[in-house]
Assembly symmetry: C2
Homo-oligomer: 248 residues x 2
């Protein structure tokens, strides 16, 4: 049991480390190689898109998903951790929607059509499913009037769709990074080497893609571990240890 907890904390530390690396890489890519940020309809506004999607749809989303697996959170009432789970996901959804606004605004300002690429189809599907999952999740697990039978019925689907949305997020991010590098790394553009010659920017952004995949696999591994799941008390808003104490 101690070994299992130790393995969990090692996996969780890796998850946090990869989160930090993802954020640093995506911020460094867009600030140092893509001329930084603005909200003015130029490419600088577009640069918010990868940063907000990686931070919201991948990093915050993945960390929110594993909150209940942290053994520290098992000792007290479930309610504050539920609020943290829902709160982090709401922030993740806010960042994702803001990230979509950045790219839609940029397209509209530059008369580029929206939602034509496969990347955009998968991306909009991902954010749509995420929004629906948040609303159904809040209605089911946060509203006090929601009956226990409904919660028990919805929970497996909620957990499964949560993992599926993370997979879709990764598909969206990788196809988006790949597409962006083909757009900007052309031999004709201001002296940079083209993508096939792997200039430093290409190595950096490709590495970001690999780290995003590693992060998502660690999160999915943590979620799949049966023995790392929060032991469920009879009343799900009570803490597990509390119930044990009551019983003794």
């Amino acid at each position: 049991m101690m070994g299992s907890a130790g393995a969990f904390y090692a996996a969780h530390a890796l998850c946090v480390l990869l989160s930090v690396v993802c954020v640093l890489l995506v911020a460094h890519w867009n600030s140092s190689y893509r001329e930084g940020f603005a909200w003015d309809g130029t490419a600088k506004q577009f640069n918010w898109h990868p940063v907000l999607m990686v931070v919201g749809l991948v990093v915050l989303y993945g960390n929110a998903a594993v909150v209940y697996r942290v053994p520290l959170t098992w000792r007290a009432s479930k309610r504050p951790w539920k609020l943290l789970h829902a709160g982090l996901l709401l922030l993740a959804l806010f960042f994702s929607v803001l990230g979509l606004c950045a790219v839609f605004d940029f397209h509209n300002a530059n008369r580029i059509p929206n939602l034509y690429s496969l990347h955009s189809w998968v991306g909009i599907l991902t954010v749509g499913l995420f929004a629906a999952q948040w609303v159904v999740g809040a209605g089911t697990f946060l509203l006090p009037c929601s009956p226990l039978t409904v919660r028990t019925l919805v929970k497996p689907a909620h957990v499964w769709l949560g993992g599926a949305i993370l997979v879709l997020s990764v598909v969206s991010c990788i196809s988006g990074i790949n597409e962006k590098l083909f757009f900007v790394l052309k031999s004709s553009t201001n002296g940079t080497k083209p993508y096939p010659q792997l200039p430093p920017e290409a190595v950096l952004a490709n590495s970001l893609g690999v780290v995003i995949i590693a992060f998502a696999l660690v999160v999915l591994k943590i979620l799949s571990h049966k023995s790392w799941q929060r032991p469920e008390p009879r009343n799900e808003d009570e803490g597990y240890r509390q119930v044990s104490v009551d019983e003794s």
Copy 2:
């Protein structure tokens, strides 16, 4: 129990249906819109790449993964189904490697560098992990001399990595289809409408991407269902029912 089996067969039928749609869409795309197939270093050789990767790395791979979930296969010895699982995966690996040969040959014939894009990094990682998983899987579960303790130890990692490789396959396919459409659907090229105007080819190939994602999610859903797993007898090469009969 009957309801659970009914739900399994519905999910499995959907899995088979989506497999057929994937194969038809990728074949139709490359034969009708991309000028068909050859093995001559031209774009016609490249066209084998998407077809072989979708058929091998997604369709055959996914169907091989769910073989043990089919209740029909629980009645007899596990050995023939193990050979079917390993055989389908070997065919899938063969198609995937042939698909890589198609694109490497095409690149070399046209002096295009290999392995620079994020799509290619993820793709080569996927096929590499798949090859390693097949070799370790065969050594662990097919070799009669492999001890039961090793099989028990390796199985959870084998099952988990199997799902992870399917996720990576989907990431590779979606980023590849997206990249290909940006390459070929340009306003300058022989009268076709550019990608942003969503010509029929773009709708077809984007739809292929969506169907690949749907197929993978159905496979992952089938694999995640605890009650759809093959009941394990004491001797894993015996059939479950057989063991029950022996005991009675």
